[in-house]
Symmetry: C3
Subunit: 215 residues, 3 copies
């Protein structure tokens, strides 16, 4: 009887790890911008929960994740304070390298989850796929806007949002082929993670639109 | 029996042309900022649909235009890719000049439409007029914020939002004089377009608040 | 029979004064950035009403304050025009010093009001306290984002949001001790105001996270 509980436990663990990776990306960007403790907590929170919250505002869903599971807010505040006490500038680069992988897991899980939620509301496939992208990517977008940067997801020429976009269509296809919802979500998350891992491993760059910026 | 269908067809054509003009403004700003393909599509989409979406979030209306007419999202993605293949930097200035006029049409139609929606919800006239301004102007505002610029609608000293504001009051006045809704919307859109065209033709500038920025 | 009406009258006066202080902060930042009349009105409006509006979007509450009391929008537009005619650059520094105190009053009243609204919806205490912070602080955050600045509330190392955060917990504690709602709100607002006044009087700075920005 232990096996049935293993997958949910694994998923929860993966999601929690990915959320920490997202929050850390905000925390380190806030530190680079020399924000104070309030700014560090807000930017970390936006990076962790901003994408899902924006999706829920667009889909008119309530309660938000962080309202239903308010313990996460305590974890975020506590984690930010601990990080401000322990984390040093020299730890940033290795932390970012280590966080690439849980971040890729989060990209897969959160985008597949967001697409699934939108499909369950009966929205068109293209809208649902974009809602998945919003869920996984726009926390980082809000983080960068508050830090007064052009969002890195829009200018680093690395496949990030496009992996989530492709994975969303895997979800749509899997459902239309009759897979049950959980299997389709896992397959889509794995596809997104795989694409992102491949992009990281090969250091792939999206072709630049040189014509748009020629002098 | 053909005449009754002509006006809707004309309006749809004008709205589609104006939406293309809005999207192109985002596409070219994204190109100037050297965004990647994801950034180009997002910024073009914000410029095209961001104002109406923000209005619908504020008015708590669903579904959004781009959810009800999801074909527009395909058109946007496809159009961005075609533009990235065909459009060159040297085309930007002539494109912007040519787009001023459909942009002015969009300013009129979208602001009048937004004001009409808010009035139909029973909102006060001043709120409805501002919702019209949000509909027509805040797509460009979101475009500029994501591109890390102060919104040009707030600093170029050209009458843009004020034309939509004035046209909104034409709509309120026309309705209170008993005009039917469609005629009032068209009259307001024409008034906004006329004011904007006049401002473009005369190169008019709003008086600067020099006192606020004196040294 | 006059006494019962005195407290509401006093509160309304304090709230109106605080709203003017918030709007003036936006107006002066817009002037420093050389925005035009449209930008000045929008940024002043965001500073005055943006926090409460964002809270209402998150809590899915309608109508917004400025829809229910649309007269405030007229006051805002009129006030901005009068200020642009009368206010000179040399007035900015003394105005900002004078506005610190009504701003601190607003910090207390709006954060306590926002927390109270969220608690009345049955939200968890930590969420409600954060909604109070959003109400009082995020108008200024939106003001700064539109003006292309990192929000000062996130980087000036002065206790501002933390005063509202502490005051929110006073409200939660007072309610759980059985105080009636109005008394608890007033107590929390006074606590927030007192902390902010103390910070202003002693020129207190939050400890910097030097480790985060070390070279």
């Amino acid at each position: 009887m232990r096996e049935p509980a293993l997958l949910p436990l694994l998923l929860t663990t993966l999601e929690a790890t990915a959320t920490v990776a997202f929050a850390l990306s905000g925390l380190m960007e806030a530190a680079r911008k020399r924000l104070d403790a309030v700014g560090v907590c807000v930017v970390a929170g936006l990076a962790a929960f901003g994408g899902g919250t924006l999706r829920d505002v667009l889909l008119d869903r309530r309660p938000f994740f962080w309202v239903e599971h308010a313990g996460w807010l305590w974890a975020l505040l506590g984690g930010c304070i601990v990080a401000m006490l322990l984390l040093r500038r020299r730890h940033f680069a290795p932390t970012e390298r280590a966080m690439q992988w849980p971040d890729a897991v989060g990209l897969g899980l959160f985008s597949a989850g967001g697409t699934q939620l939108a499909l369950a509301q009966g929205l068109p496939a293209i809208v649902a796929v974009l809602m998945g992208v919003v869920t996984a990517v726009f926390g980082g977008v809000l983080r960068d806007i508050v830090c007064n940067e052009i969002p890195s997801a829009f200018r680093d020429h690395r496949p990030y949002a496009v992996c989530a976009f492709a994975g969303g269509w895997v979800l749509v296809a899997a459902r239309s082929l009759g897979l049950d919802d959980s299997a389709a979500v896992l397959l889509a998350a794995a596809a997104t993670f795989g694409l992102r891992a491949l992009a990281l491993a090969t250091d792939y760059r999206l072709p630049a639109w040189t014509s748009g910026s020629e002098r």
